[in-house]
Structure formats: structure tokens, C-alpha cells
């Protein structure tokens, strides 16, 4: 294996594109190094992107937030403005692993690992977040939900690197929340998860909503019917019941030792309801 730590995106892209063997990007390494250690991956080239300018930056501008590809989970939680605007995104990312893992793990890495149970991803999709991709043919920007294709597989082409995540500008009275079910209190993989992103009008009526479920299908899924159930309501019991039913109806989960199909289908609705209640309160709804 060769290790390279280029100082520009351009040279990182060139190295990855030219490599004839197996090449991987290294940022936090909390997935890559475990797979290497276990013998599941034997890379010929690892390209460490952490010496590239801007990869550790969280920047706020008129168009929203930009989060660099190597920003570790712990730094998201330390960024007061980000936590205020997107508490659901930060709580999802901060659920990943221990403090030690938080010191390294990145949201882009969580996304590129391609797991349908990724805790860092549902709230990004609920936020309509985008990723900026640099590749041999230049830059392109795509929605986060277009990155995962199936368990462990993503849509990036050879030589492409996700350099940053873009979060849109936040309208007034907006917030989000993320919840997951795990059989213990900390550090486990989501059996089911739900992210809800809401915007209210001045009177507490939901104007806009986006509901996303994790670990209940081969990829993380957006549930438009669940969002529709919330829009126009003040999150009354009828809207919540419709939300839960829409979420359960959207599930196509696997049956495994961590959760049965029946359990996952039911809990998806429950978590979406609870996440909606948290997001609603955070957005100023009463």
C-alpha cells in the first residue's frame, strides 16, 4: 500500500483517477482502517485528504453552511451556530461511536460508507443538503440522497472526492430532529431511525416538511407521504397518526437479529412521530 497526502484537491483527484489498483480516500479513517485491519480491504493506495485547505472548516454564508469533508463529529457539536440552525443534523452525527471515534469520524465518511443505518445521513437528507464533488471532469453538486445506491455502494465515479457538504439557508421558524432505536443506551447501530425537518409559519402551522427514514430499506429513504401528512397541520394527533402510518407503509426492512420486519415497520412510525414533536418544539411550535 502507498500513502499519499496531497495538498490540493486537484492532485488528490489525479492520484485517485490514475491509480490502477484499489484506491481509497482517508479522512477520519474510522471505517477504512477497521476494514483494512479486518482484512476486508487491501488498498493499493490511500489518499489522505486532511492536508487540503478548507477540509476542516465549517463556514456560514448567506447561502447556508458549508462543512468540509474532514470535519470530525466533535467539531460539529462545538459549532454553536450550526447546532442552533441544524440541531437534528448535529445530534445524528454526534451519535456515531465513542468520544474517540467522534474525534475523527466525518459526515462525508459516514455518507460514503453507504450504510442504510448511517446515523449522520438521514437528517442531512431531511435538510435537502447537497454534496460538492470534485472529480477528473471538474466539480458537480448533487443532493445527498443521490450518493448512496445500495448497502455499501455509492454513486461516485473513479477519481471523485466529496469535498464538502452544503446546508441550505434556514427560513425563520425552522428546525429538525433525529432519533434512532438501538437496544442499548449508546454506541450501537441504528435498528430504525427517523429524521424530520420542519418549517412553520408565524402561527405554528407547518408550511414545509421533510421526513426521512434509516435502516428500513436498502438505502435511506425520503417519505413524501409522511411530509404531506404534516403540512398544513399544527402537529395535532390526527396529523401525527397519518405521519406514523405513512412512515410504516414506506418501510421495506430486512429481518435480522437486531430487529424483525414487524418491529422495524412499527418503530419507524413511532420514531418519526417523536422526532416530529421535537422538531416542532424546536421550531417554536407549541
Amino acid at each position: 500500500m502507498r500513502y499519499e497526502a496531497p495538498e490540493t484537491l486537484k492532485s488528490a483527484v489525479t492520484m485517485l483517477a490514475k491509480e490502477k489498483g484499489l484506491a481509497f480516500v482517508l479522512a477520519g479513517g474510522t471505517d477504512l482502517l477497521v476494514k483494512m485491519k479486518g482484512g476486508f480491504l487491501e488498498p493499493d493506495l490511500v489518499v489522505d485528504i486532511k492536508r487540503i485547505k478548507g477540509v476542516f472548516d465549517i463556514t456560514k454564508s448567506a447561502t447556508g453552511f458549508k462543512i468540509g469533508a474532514a470535519v470530525p463529529g466533535v467539531a460539529l457539536g462545538e459549532h454553536a451556530a450550526l447546532v442552533k440552525a441544524w440541531p437534528g443534523i448535529v445530534e445524528g452525527a454526534n451519535l456515531i461511536g465513542s468520544k474517540q471515534v467522534q474525534g475523527r469520524c466525518t459526515m462525508v465518511g459516514n455518507l460514503c460508507n453507504g450504510s442504510p443505518a448511517a446515523d449522520g445521513v438521514p437528517a442531512l437528507i431531511a435538510a435537502n443538503a447537497k454534496v460538492v464533488i470534485s472529480g477528473p471532469k471538474g466539480k458537480r453538486t448533487i443532493p445527498v440522497e443521490q450518493v448512496p445506491v445500495s448497502p455499501g455502494r455509492i454513486s461516485l465515479k473513479k477519481g471523485e472526492i466529496i469535498e464538502a457538504i452544503l446546508l441550505p439557508k434556514r427560513p425563520a421558524n425552522s428546525s429538525d430532529a433525529y432519533l434512532r432505536f438501538i437496544p442499548r443506551t449508546e454506541m450501537d447501530i441504528a435498528v430504525v431511525s427517523a429524521a424530520v425537518n420542519l418549517t412553520l409559519d408565524g402561527k405554528g402551522t407547518i408550511k414545509d416538511a421533510r421526513v426521512v427514514l434509516g435502516a428500513v430499506a436498502p438505502t435511506i429513504i425520503v417519505v413524501p407521504a409522511a411530509a404531506k401528512a404534516l403540512i398544513g397541520s399544527k402537529l395535532d394527533a390526527a396529523a401525527l397518526a397519518k405521519l406514523a402510518a405513512a412512515c410504516s407503509a414506506a418501510c421495506k426492512p430486512i429481518d435480522d437479529k437486531r430487529g424483525t420486519i414487524e418491529f422495524r415497520t412499527k418503530v419507524a412510525g413511532v420514531l418519526a412521530r417523536r422526532a416530529a414533536e421535537i422538531a416542532y418544539k424546536r421550531a417554536g411550535g407549541k
Binding site: M1, R2, Y3, A5, L26, G29, T30, L33, V34, M36, K37, G38, P43, V46, D48, K50, P72, V74, G97, S98, K99, Q100, V101, G103, R104, E186, M187
Partner: protein, 158 residues
């Protein structure tokens, strides 16, 4: 396998080494630099016995490549005591019997110090969450939590 030449700072000292491209920092510390305080429990980031800090961030040294620490500031358990004077955490781990076999202890001390550096007055819950990435098969954790609580109190008083 080509060697990677790395210059870095460990516990304030300039250090230079050559390692393999895929060699974890933990192996560099233990096998090349003779710093055997960090332990390998799992090697996959689950147990925390290999905890160190890199540029002030708590990490598992088994999940970092030696090559990555070029130009970084690394802190290990070997830098915790100042000469013969133990850090209050080390002293309290002894006086509270917060260790038995000792394999997890360096990692707990590094993680506990990282916690107290950020939060000098943690609740018991915050301590337990803060140390959740460190596994101990001997103590049942309670004595470790008491030792950290005692240290926090002592250091706030000082």
C-alpha cells in the same frame, strides 16, 4: 512496501520515524518508539485502550496511521506525569483502586483528562458517557467514575 518518513511532536518532544504506509500509530508508538503505555485491546476502535490525543482531540491510535501524524502534536500517557509527580487523575486512580489488571488504565486516564480539560465539573452521567469509549473488564467502572469525580473536585479546588 515503501517507508514513510514522519516528523512530529509527541508530548512536546520532536520525534522522527520511518513507518510502513499502512502501519497504525499504535504500532509506531509501541514497536518503533518504545512508548508502550498505549495498549492494543481490540485494534478496531472499540475498547479505547490505545487512546491518545492528536492536536488536542481524543482518538484511538489504532485507527490512525502513523503516516498521518506528520506535523501534528500527539499526547500519550507517557506525557501525563511531570517527572516523578503524578497527574491528579493518576494519583486518584491509585487511591480509589480504580484499576486491577491495568490494561485499560492508560486509555481511561487519557480519556478522563480530555473530558476534564473540556468540562471541569462533569455530572456522573457526563463522566459515564465521556468514558463510554473505554472498556474495562475488571473494575465494573464504579471506582473509575469515583476517581474521576474526586479528581474533578480536587482540580476545581486547586
Amino acid at each position: 512496501m515503501s517507508g514513510v518518513h514522519v516528523t512530529t511532536t509527541i508530548n512536546g518532544d520532536a520525534v522522527e520515524f520511518v513507518c510502513n504506509a499502512d502501519e497504525p500509530l499504535l504500532d509506531v508508538l509501541r514497536n518503533r518508539l518504545g512508548m508502550t503505555g498505549a495498549k492494543e485491546g481490540c485494534g478496531t476502535g472499540d475498547c479505547g485502550a490505545c487512546s491518545v490525543t492528536i492536536n488536542g482531540r481524543l482518538v484511538c491510535s489504532c485507527l490512525v496511521l502513523g503516516a498521518e501524524i506528520q506535523g501534528a502534536k500527539v499526547g500519550t500517557i507517557e506525557g501525563m506525569a511531570k517527572g516523578d509527580k503524578l497527574h491528579p487523575l493518576q494519583q486518584n486512580f491509585i487511591s480509589h483502586a480504580a484499576l486491577q489488571c491495568g490494561i485499560c488504565t492508560p486509555g481511561f486516564l487519557i480519556a478522563a483528562k480530555a473530558l476534564l480539560d473540556k468540562n471541569p465539573d462533569p455530572s456522573e452521567e457526563e463522566i459515564r458517557f465521556g468514558l463510554a469509549g473505554n472498556l474495562c473488564r475488571c473494575t465494573g467502572y464504579d471506582k473509575i467514575v469515583r476517581a474521576v469525580q474526586a479528581t474533578a473536585k480536587e482540580m476545581r479546588g486547586a
